[in-house]
């Protein structure tokens, strides 16, 4: 009973969205990456990627900087310390949810036993 009342960790909806999660995963694996690489790695269209990056920047998870390198303007994105912390916490929450779901599934599988006949045989309901 008490197990059922335990609160489920609240998932950060900002990070949970797959496109934004992909961007944050890429940025967590490097110092910084440019728009072109993010576009190729995530498979997002330019418009969508731009929108998602703006949302992440507004939330204070990433920093966007425009630099000029050999007459080329590069849009570089960096995961800030807060973003890294939020991403780590997100994965911890997900691990917790996954572990609970696994426990629940295991327990449910143990509870389901055949009423009669051979083990594992499915007994059709009457009526």
């Amino acid at each position: 009973m008490t197990e059922q009342l335990q609160p489920i960790p609240e998932i950060d909806r900002l990070v949970h969205e797959p496109a934004r999660l992909a961007i944050l995963t890429v940025l967590a694996a490097c110092e910084r990456a440019d728009f072109l690489f993010l576009e190729r790695a995530t498979g997002l269209t330019r418009g969508n990627l731009s929108v998602q990056l703006t949302r992440l920047e507004e939330a204070g998870l990433i920093e966007i900087e425009k630099i000029i390198e050999r007459k080329r303007t590069l849009t570089m994105a960096t995961l800030v310390r807060r973003g890294r912390h939020v991403l780590d916490r997100y994965w911890q929450d997900m691990d917790e949810i996954r572990a609970r779901a696994k426990n629940k599934t295991t327990k449910a599988a143990k509870d389901v036993r055949p009423a009669q006949g051979f083990p594992g045989k499915v007994v059709p309901a009457r009526g």
Binding site: A33, T42, N48
Partner: protein
Amino acid sequence: MQSEALVAAGRRGEELRYVTEHFRDLQGLYFAPFWAWLLLLVLVRASTQLSGRHLLLEISLTALFPLAGIPCANAWYKRYGVVQAHTPEPKPLSILDTNPPRRRSVLGFLIVLVGISIVFTATLLSRRLDEYRAVLNLWIALVFTVPRCFYSAPAILTIQLRRGLYIVGSAIIFFVVLCIPLMGPLHSSRWFLLEIICTTLLALSLYDHWLLNHLLRACPEASYD
């Protein structure tokens, strides 16, 4: 169904992490043309007898290869974007530290590469330097293949295959350099050994390039819906 989605998301996350961390390392086209050129050179040399003047020409062309090849590869990989890898925390400056900080220079890198390719080609093609050839081949194996066998790779088939190929490639080069010369004059033909080494290195570089493209193309936008 949800657990499948979680597994798929986790797998894609691993792929993204890997391709970002090893972005530079997976750019196989930096070295593939060089190995292909050497292979061609070895195949030509194996079938024909060339004079000393031709040998000099071959060495010069091989030395020039990095000068032309690296800017071409740079231009090609510009289309993939820019990733800056994690840098270690800088040490605090001290007035007692008299050594200036080391800087990487593209020119210096090119000079070193040209030097290596001159020595490499001369050692490969000149009979006078036969005794150093085995050492140099082992050195190449140690620089290009052995370090890539020890990366922590996620449990994804194509990525595990890369590590497997590097382990097999290193083993082939070590075997070719150390064991085949003991098997007799027929097998220890200089050209036969070099063909195997160049083919192995070329195959590994091409697989790296394929893997980079494969990992970056694995996720169209539709899969996020």
